[in-house]
């Protein structure tokens, strides 16, 4: 097999981009799981919802409102869409998820699964399935010559932005007082409550934050992938495997695993492209044999 160093570097770079999305999504899952003990099956649908919101803002909202020229650009959407998705998530947490905390975690999982079905089905009903195009902002259009490859500016932006977000989230959770509360909430919510912290509100906000992370990833993905109701569901299966490999308990772990798996997937695409999706699951099986708790996980 002849692969030039150039091609190798190019594929590695592309793998890194994929890894950024895995990292952002699995971090959100890990944060939610940490405090709520729920695997958020709605994550993919919320990712999709944000991408759709961005698209609606750019192309639809003007005509809807009767001002065809009015549009919400990418930068505004990058802030607003995750916020809306986050608030929507918090509403679900308040009205539906909250009722299930005293039960087996299975019920929370099934509930989020049902919500995901409704969301995907609803978007499919309204917008069809072929999907919608979304243009990156003008300043990020066109490629940059990296020497070994031409890389679209937008993709460079995605890597930088998502690494910043991941690092910021990690810092928030591991290095600030708020993060300390959150971690304490994971360990012993009742004790935390007795210190005068409003734990239920904290839970709601955490869920909203985790979901908003998925929202940011969704808006970032809109110009790369076609915006379709199924874009999140397809991704989520892989992210679940990422989370199992990394161990659900660790924010840093899920981030590192996400990035690493993106790179591995990128390499697989060069060597044996047929297996590039399944390689994640094979690694998961191997990781379980070696370290059942996940590479960065704690046994629960």
């Amino acid at each position: 097999m002849d692969i030039t160093l150039q091609a190798f570097m190019a594929q590695l770079t592309i793998g890194l981009i994929g890894g950024c999305f895995y990292a952002m999504l699995s971090m959100g899952l890990a944060i939610i799981f940490g405090l709520l003990n729920i695997i958020n099956f709605t994550h993919g649908a919320q990712f999709m919802m944000a991408a759709f919101l961005a698209w609606i803002g750019l192309t639809q909202i003007g005509p809807w409102l009767g001002y065809p020229d009015f549009q919400i650009n990418f930068w505004v959407a990058l802030v607003i869409a995750p916020l809306i998705v986050g608030v929507f998530g918090m509403a679900i947490e308040r009205t539906l998820l909250r009722r299930l905390y005293h039960l087996d975690h299975l019920y929370g999982l099934l509930l989020t699964f049902g919500v995901a079905l409704v969301m995907e089905g609803g978007f499919r009903y309204v917008f069809g399935v072929s999907g919608q195009g979304y243009e990156p902002p003008e300043i990020l259009q066109g490629p940059v010559d990296l020497g070994f490859m031409l890389l679209p500016k937008y993709r460079i932006f995605v890597v930088v932005a998502s690494l910043l977000i991941c690092f910021g989230t990690w810092y928030l959770f591991e290095r600030t007082k708020l993060g300390a509360y959150l971690r304490a909430g994971t360990e012993n919510p009742r004790l935390l409550q007795s210190f005068g912290i409003n734990v239920p509100v904290m839970i709601t906000l955490t869920y909203g934050f985790g979901v908003a992370l998925a929202g940011i990833a969704g808006v970032l993905a809109a110009p790369i992938m076609q915006v379709t109701p199924l874009m999140g569901g397809n991704l989520l299966n892989i992210v679940f495997a990422v989370v199992v490999i990394g161990g659900l308990g660790s924010i840093l772990g899920s981030m590192m695993t996400g990035l690493a798996l993106g790179l591995i997937e990128g390499l697989t695409k060069v060597i044996y492209p047929e297996a590039s999706t399944v390689v994640v699951f094979v690694i998961m099986a191997l990781a379980l044999l070696v370290r059942p708790a996940g590479l960065f996980g704690r046994e629960v």
Binding site: L100, H105, L106, L109, G114, E120, G121, F240, E274
Partner: protein, 333 residues
């Protein structure tokens, strides 16, 4: 004779008449319900009686279907072809169950579920890749062959054979649940630490339960392959795995008849929604939400619960006749 058995006999007797009144209930529809009912029973054996959540059950249903189907296409003409292919399918499902279960029981709770989900993706991938599974075309036109000289190609004969095989499978599950082994499984479900302290190797019991459940799911899958004469990727997809969760939940987790009721409801709903189209996913999703939020006992569970409460109230009324009843009793967990 237990109540379960009596109800079961009545049910079977009612089902015996179905082919005579095709205008009332369509026999092929009943066969589909029976296959999925058994599939849901297999799932319930794990979820309801062992407390394990699996998202890999489609992998068992499908792999048995593929093996049975592929063998029937090659050896269907042989007089022993059908029973051999059927058993081979069940064995294949149990084997896949052993592989997936062996890995998954290394973790507990939600992790267990996630691992089964991820591993079932590998099975799906293999089904797409292998040549003998027909890729996305699936296996079509699988011959039904003959059972002990009985030609199965007509729907009516197949109906009675399906009913018979269903009865065997159902009673097998019922037997497991009520055996000493089943009691241990329920002990593991209720309190694993206590079961361990009593000297039971809980991992071993969980694995056996997993393999048994996979085997029964495979039994349903092999039967389904023969009834519909086709196997497709849908049978190994995550979608089917979640459908069986819905069936079990809707009917009643941990009840003997719940999965059957749930299967009948979901299959009927699919048929009904097919002509409405468009919003199938939304409706199924809403049912999930309603079921999980307000209706966790399922139909059968709710029925049993009401009956139990009524009889308890009657007992109490008898005991406390002079005193007026104040409030209904808190339900036992």
């Amino acid at each position: 004779m237990s109540t379960t058995f009596k109800i079961f006999l009545v049910l079977c007797a009612a089902l015996l008449v179905v082919p005579f009144v095709p205008g009332l209930i369509y026999p092929v529809f009943v066969m589909k319900v029976l296959c999925y009912g058994l599939f849901a029973c297999a799932f319930n054996l794990l979820l309801g009686f062992t407390g394990l959540v699996s998202f890999a059950h489609a992998a068992f249903l499908g792999s048995a279907g593929y093996v049975t189907g592929a063998l029937m296409i090659r050896f269907g003409g042989h007089p022993l072809g059908m029973p051999a292919a059927f058993l081979a399918g069940v064995a294949a499902a149990a084997l896949v169950g052993f592989a997936i279960g062996g890995l998954a029981i290394r973790r507990k709770g939600i992790y267990f579920a996630m691992i089964t989900l991820a591993l079932s993706q590998i099975v799906y991938f293999l089904a797409v890749q292998f040549r003998w599974t027909g890729g996305e075309d699936g296996l079509q036109g699988i011959p039904r062959g003959s059972l002990f000289g009985l030609d199965l190609s007509t729907d009516t004969t197949m109906y009675y054979v399906t009913l018979g095989l269903f009865a065997v499978g159902f009673l097998f599950v019922d037997r497991i649940v009520h055996s000493p082994f089943g009691q241990i499984l329920q002990a593991v479900r209720d309190n694993e630490a206590r079961a361990t302290s009593l000297g039971y190797d809980t991992d071993r019991f969980k694995l056996i339960a997993f393999v048994l459940s996979a085997g029964v799911a495979g039994y349903a899958g092999a039967l389904k392959a023969l009834v519909f004469q086709l196997v497709s990727l849908n049978d190994v997809s995550l979608h089917t795995s979640t459908e069986v969760v819905l069936m079990t939940l809707l009917g009643g987790v941990g009840t003997i008849f719940g999965p059957l009721v749930g299967a009948a409801l979901v299959v009927g709903l699919q048929n009904y929604l097919a002509t409405i189209g468009d919003l199938v996913t939304v409706v199924i999703g809403l049912i999930f939400i309603v079921c999980v939020s307000f209706f966790r006992r399922g139909f059968v569970g709710e029925f049993l619960h009401l009956r139990r409460r009524r009889s308890e109230r009657a007992v109490r009324r008898k005991a406390l006749r002079p005193a007026p009843e104040t409030s209904p009793a808190a339900e036992p967990a």
